[in-house]
Symmetry: C3
Subunit: 314 residues, 3 copies
């Protein structure tokens, strides 16, 4: 996935995490420590003081509701003020000035920049600058990575299936465009999940070289006896290079239905990063069923993001 460069840039010379751009190259103990912090935040009542020295700037150059809310709320939970930069009301969306924007925010004492951007590699230029003091956090980079989603997926799965080495997971759908799939795959691999099965329609199949070591399966093969099925959002906004996907045809071929879940392990759980296209990726009645971990994914997003903020500066 050619993220080795970001992977080495996001840590300092002592191995300390300074930015969170990708889960590639992050060691298991580092992630373990993040998950432990997150679980603590999820359980204990916080006694938080307002702390304006730790301000957070959010810049979402692609649409987002839930991720933006989650990063905002996580910051406020820690007492950190949040300022929103509006890409369409300024010239910020242009990649050539983004570096200047980051330096400007840094000079203003902003402590964290949370950035979502459609351009692969955008973070590399931002963090590869001597004396950079702002902490950059990816809230989604093109089709490449979405590290906090990978972490919250891992946390959600581990809370239900602590014995990760014996776990079987299927990731189903738009593997060509899904940054979620890439980050969740990396997180699961780092934690020793060996049986990860991918299944995508031919036109949404992963690019060669992605998801190393994970074979592509028919949907029937992928679902057989798995304990976790992750249905991916069809990234309709990225389908410019693909013929239009017909929702009902997609549903008939790749939609998760109660019928299809019978092939899975009796204790199977389903996940989806949201927002869902109901009746396309998932049967509507499954969304809030006892099989669903979807709300828990959203819930875990908050403590995961709190833990990320805290870890980068501690």
């Amino acid at each position: 996935m050619n993220e080795n460069h970001e992977a080495s840039l996001q840590v300092d010379q002592n191995g300390k995490l300074k930015h969170l751009i990708t889960l590639e190259g992050l060691s298991r103990p580092v992630i373990e420590s993040l998950l432990e912090r997150a679980e603590r935040y999820g359980q204990e009542p916080l006694s938080i003081r307002f702390d304006p020295s730790q301000s957070v700037a959010l810049l979402f150059c692609e649409a987002s509701t839930r991720t933006r809310m989650s990063f905002s709320l996580a910051a406020w939970r820690l007492g950190y003020p949040v300022v929103n930069l509006e890409p369409d009301r300024s010239s910020l969306a242009k990649s050539e000035t983004l570096e200047d924007t980051v330096s400007t925010l840094e000079a203003m004492g902003v402590r964290y920049l949370v950035l979502r951007h459609s351009q692969p590699g955008i973070f590399k230029t931002l963090i590869d600058s001597p004396g950079r003091t702002i902490h950059c956090i990816s809230a989604g980079e093109a089709h490449r990575s979405h590290p906090t989603q990978g972490l919250l997926d891992l946390l959600t799965i581990r809370q239900h299936f602590p014995d990760l080495a014996r776990l079987s997971v299927a990731i189903v759908g738009d593997l060509a465009h899904s940054r979620v799939a890439r980050s969740t795959f990396t997180a699961l691999r780092t934690f020793g999940v060996s049986d990860i099965r991918l299944s995508a329609p031919p036109e949404l199949a992963p690019h060669p070289g992605d998801f190393q070591g994970a074979p592509n399966h028919t949907l029937d093969e992928a679902l057989l006896d798995v304990q976790v099925v992750i249905a991916l959002r069809v990234q309709t906004e990225r389908l410019t290079d693909t013929p239009t996907i017909n929702p009902s045809h997609y549903y008939s071929q790749y939609g998760l239905t109660s019928e299809r879940l019978r092939r899975c392990h009796p204790d199977v759980r389903i996940m989806h990063p949201g927002p869902i296209h109901p009746g396309m990726e998932l049967a509507p009645e499954l969304i809030n069923s006892r099989r669903s971990l979807i709300r828990e994914q959203v819930r875990n997003g908050l403590p995961i993001r709190m833990a990320v903020y805290e870890m980068l500066t501690s």
Copy 2:
């Protein structure tokens, strides 16, 4: 007004108010208690601590400046962080996904959703869900209701005319589309104001069945000896079903002028929910005159909204 369903859904099985969607069905003691809290907030200096556990999400699917500001500032006054959802930057405006958005915010630990929406009945589907923990507050629902405006109008009137049973009030203007008129009417009725006179141009007359028990009057009849005149904003944005209203013609027929106020009680006070179309609903010189309670309405909006936040969780 067919809001009985919302009225029963906004309280829990013990009669405790959990949401504020409509003033229909709210008992006088409940409203009394809200007004008392609001008056306390208006008088005492607050010693407030930052409290990020009580976050507020604002979602305004119709334009608003003053109501949005008032809800924001009221939340901050209580120490609650505010996050803004942008309807046009996400798919949130679509009613089919709004329920999902609410559940998502709930999973993120958001404590209050303040929603303005043009679709009648939208709140019913949102609050009629088992296990709902977020508190929904209407900041305006179609033409139907605007409960915090009704409460602040009631508070403003009562501060000037404590003897509500003997009060005469005229509500003048766009009764067909005014959610303010409906909520203020309900609040005044609950507090025993029996002489409420309505007067609307024929094309903006209230629908049959609305404003039960209040007859429609000519403007001259409506103003005769009243102590309070509420001029309504002509909801130009809702006039799609009506021929265009000519501002100067409207003013000549229904505008409040110093001349027309001579028919009223010598101590008459005028009110307007804002924003005003000056020279249409009201003579410009009246806006800041000694007759005007318009600034007091705005001022009372803040403690009323603080009291609503506090009451829903206490």
Copy 3:
């Protein structure tokens, strides 16, 4: 510059600064005191408590990233909540209603309004109102003034060249449209800088009567032995009355290059209010060079704005 009226309106009858609209007419001791506060904020760790009684409303009717961020962050640093008014989502941009908006915010207890507006003289009508309690702060008024930028420029220059009476400064570029140039010029004059040289292309020359006492020079004359060169942003958005400026032609005639800097004092420093058009006003390699004070300008913006907030209410 015909700002005498604002200059007298921004102070109360005791000479106390209540608004910050222009640096015209501000005495040296008042500005001195502002700079001293700012320097204190820049050095000491703050122990700040959340203070919702001091809320700030931002209304930017012209695009801005850095100034808006700087005012937001400065407010949060002091513990003051910030609310954003969106000019395009409401009717606020219309000058006829702006006065009403200010009164509304005032009635809601907002303590500061930070306003950027394209209409010259807009602040006069806003602050010239009896009983005005909100404090108005200009974040840029048409081509006329940008007082906090003038203050931060002065602070930045003085930190490097304490002996202002012996300083030579060149201000180069779009003098016709630059509010920065006007405010910085005024600030420097108040602090006794006598040798200020202006140099503009003929089509961007200052209007007669502006920059009193400062002659227009050729670029070569302006740069000769000066210790500070301020390159102005070409206000491309205000060039409606001027033939389009060709960037490379501008650069060849007025761009600051290492070559041209050789005419200056050996210890010359360069400044720019940002955002920069790289390769137009300035050679790209100079932006982060040891000659550049551009980051320090941004850095000083924060404590300057904190000091302004604090001074208006103390």
